[in-house]
Symmetry: none
Subunit: 338 residues, 2 copies
DNA sequence: CCTGGCACTCCTCCACCATGAGTGCCAGCA
DNA sequence: TGCTGGCACTCATGGTGGAGGAGTGCCAGG
C-alpha cells in the first residue's frame, strides 16, 4: 500500500499542478510544501507513484503530472469539499432570490455556477417524473374546448388543449376542477393514475366522454412530457482550458451541443450525493480530457434534477465541489419556497 | 473611381482569401482566375485598392487581405446571394416539417442554420408584443400567498408567486379573478396597464395592498413576456475560426452568452431584408472580427423575429446569405401553417 | 530507509542562415 | 495613358545547432 507520505506527495503534486499548469518536479515540491524530506526521497516516492499509475511524465526529464487515476485517488481520499465563505453564500442567496420564475431560476443558476467555478455550467430543469402535482387548473375556452394547466411543486407549468366530445357547462368544470385537485394535489405523478381512474363514473353520462378525454390528456402529459431540458453557460471559460487549444476545445463544444450527451452525463451520476467523473471515466469520447462534477438538487429530500460543471481534469476539485454543492442546496431552497 | 478590372481583382482576392485563409499574391491571382493581364498590372491595381483601404498587407512582402471596407464593397456591389440547390431546399423543408412545437421549430432552425453555414447560428423566438391575454388565473396557496397564472393566446403560460402584505380570503380572490378577467381578457399586452389601474379602489382597504402587489407582478410579467428570447447553436464551428485562437474566440463566446448583446445585434438590422454587419461595423467590441448576417422572418408579411449567423469576417458571404434567406423563408412557412 | 552526489536525458530558447514568395519601382512598348 | 517584363529588396518561414537548465535515475554512505 501507499505510505502516508506518498499520499502526501500525490496531494502536493495535484495541488501544484492545478495551480501552475506545469509538470511539477521533486525540488519545487519539497520547497513549496514543507515536506520534511529531501528531493531524492520525493523522487523515490514519485517513481513508486508512477509505477502505480497515479502520475506520469510528459517526457523523460520533465516533472510529473497526475493521471486520471491520480485525480481519482485525490478526490476520493485526499481532498475534502471546500466550503464556501460566508460572503460567497450570501451572494449566492441574494442572486438566486431575485429570480421570478423557473426559467429565471435555472438561468441564474447557470450563470452563478459558471462564475463561481469559472467553468462550463450545466443545469437540468426539474424533472417531472419525481415531481408532485401542486394544482390542476381547468379553463373553459369554448363550449367544447378545455385548457388543462398542470402546475408542479417545482414551479413547472404544462398546458394542454382538450377537445371535448360534447359541450360542457361551467359548473361541471368547476366541479371537476375541485374533485380533481382534492384527489391529486400533492401527489406524485406516478401515483396519479389510480386516483383518477373512477372519476368519470361520478358524473352525468353526458359529461363522461369529456372527462375521459381530459384524463387521457392529463395522464399523457404526466408520462410523456417527462422530456428533460437543460441549460448551459460559461462556455467562454473553455478558453482557459490549456495550451493545445483547438484540439481540446472542439470536441467539448460539440459534446455540449448535444443535449442527449449532456443528459446522459448528468443522468449517470448516482441517485444522491455528488458525483465526480474524471477524464476517461466519461463515456463520451470528446470529454475524455474533462471532468464532470454533478449533484442532484430538489425542493425536498429527493433530487428532482441534476446540475454540475464541466472543466479540465486539471481543476480545483475541492473548490468546484464546494461551489456545486452549495449552489445545488440553495436552488433546492428556492424551489421549495416558491 | 475604381475601374471594372480593379473591382474584378478585389472580387478575386476576396474569393481566394475566403477559400485559402492565406494572403493572396498577384501571381496566384492571375493564374487561378484567368485575368487577361500580367501580375505586374495586378500589382498596380492592388496598390490602388490598398490606397483606397479595401485591402491590406499583414506585413511587407506578403499577399493582400481584404479589409472590412473591402468586404463591404464585395457584399454591396460584387456578390449576389447564392441560391440553395434543390436538394438542399428539400432537406431544409423536410427537417423543419418534423417540428412538433415552437421550441422544436426554433431548435431545429438553429441546428439547421449552423449546419448549412458551418457557423454560429442565432434564432430569436417570435416576438410576443402583439400577443393578447387569454386568461388570468389566481390560486390561493396559503393565506397570504397567491399564484398568478397568465395564459396568452399563443398558448404560452407564465406563472408568478405573489406574497401578500395581509391574508386574503378565498372570496376576495374569486372576486378579483372575475373582475380581472372581464377587464383584460382578449386585450393586447400593451393595453392592459390603464385597464387595471383603478382596480384597488373598488376593494376593501385591507385588501388593497395585496391587489397592488398582484397588479405590480402582473404588469412586470407582461413586460418580461414581451422580452425577446433566443437560442444559439453551432458554437463548435468557432474552432474553425482561424489560427490565433484563444484571443479571437474568447470575446466571441463571451458576447454570445449575453442575450442582450445578441438581441441588440439582431435588432439593429433593418426591418425587412437581409442585413450584413462586417467586422467593426458591429457595435460590440468582442465581435469586431466577426460578421453577422441576419434577416427577419415571420408567418405573414410582417417579420415577427430575426435569425442569423455569426462568423469570421472571412466568410462565404453569398453562400451564407443564401442559406440564411432560405431558412428564414421556410421557417416563416412553418409558422404560418401551425 | 533517507540523503547527497553525480551523470544523463531531453526540452526550450535563441541565434543564424537559406529560401522563396511577394512587393515596389522603373524603363520600355503599344 | 496604360500594360508589361525585369530587377532589387523585404521579410516571414523553417531548419539547424548549440548552450542552458530543469529534472530524473541510480548509487554509495549514513
Amino acid at each position: 500500500m501507499l505510505s502516508e507520505r506518498r499520499l502526501e506527495v500525490l496531494r502536493a503534486i495535484v495541488q501544484d499542478y492545478v495551480g501552475t499548469e506545469e509538470p511539477v518536479g521533486s525540488k519545487a515540491l519539497t520547497q513549496r510544501h514543507n515536506l520534511q524530506v529531501s528531493p531524492a526521497t520525493v523522487r523515490n516516492d514519485m517513481a513508486a507513484l508512477e509505477d502505480d499509475g497515479f502520475i506520469a511524465q510528459p517526457h523523460t526529464s520533465a516533472g510529473r503530472v497526475p493521471t486520471d487515476k491520480g485525480y481519482r485517488l485525490f478526490v476520493d481520499k485526499l481532498a475534502g469539499v471546500k466550503p464556501l465563505s460566508h460572503p460567497e453564500r450570501r451572494a449566492i442567496q441574494n442572486f438566486l432570490d431575485g429570480a421570478v420564475d423557473l426559467d429565471d431560476v435555472v438561468g441564474r443558476t447557470v450563470r452563478l455556477l459558471a462564475q463561481l467555478t469559472r467553468q462550463v455550467a450545466v443545469v437540468q430543469y426539474p424533472s417531472l417524473t419525481r415531481s408532485t402535482v401542486r394544482h390542476v387548473e381547468l379553463l373553459l375556452l369554448a363550449p367544447a374546448r378545455l385548457m388543462l394547466v398542470l402546475i408542479t411543486d417545482t414551479g413547472r407549468v404544462e398546458q394542454r388543449m382538450v377537445d371535448c366530445p360534447a359541450p360542457v357547462s361551467e359548473t361541471t368544470v368547476a366541479d371537476l376542477r375541485a374533485r380533481l385537485n382534492s384527489r391529486i394535489a400533492g401527489q406524485r405523478f406516478a401515483e396519479v393514475p389510480p386516483l383518477v381512474q373512477d372519476l368519470p363514473e361520478s358524473f352525468d353520462l353526458e359529461d363522461r366522454g369529456t372527462i375521459s378525454a381530459l384524463l387521457a390528456t392529463l395522464l399523457e402529459t404526466l408520462v410523456e412530457e417527462t422530456e428533460e431540458r437543460l441549460m448551459i453557460g460559461g462556455t467562454a471559460n473553455l478558453t482557459r482550458f490549456g495550451h493545445d487549444f483547438p484540439l481540446t476545445i472542439r470536441p467539448v463544444l460539440e459534446a455540449l451541443e448535444e443535449q442527449v450527451v449532456l443528459l446522459k452525463l448528468l443522468g449517470e451520476s448516482t441517485e444522491s450525493g455528488m458525483t465526480v467523473r474524471i477524464g476517461h471515466e466519461n463515456a463520451h469520447e470528446g470529454l475524455s480530457s474533462t471532468s464532470v462534477v454533478s449533484v442532484g438538487y430538489g425542493s425536498g429530500e429527493e433530487a428532482v434534477a441534476k446540475l454540475g460543471v464541466v472543466g479540465p481534469t486539471r481543476m480545483d476539485y475541492p473548490g468546484t465541489m464546494g461551489a456545486v454543492r452549495a449552489v445545488a442546496r440553495y436552488v433546492g431552497q428556492i424551489l421549495a419556497e416558491s
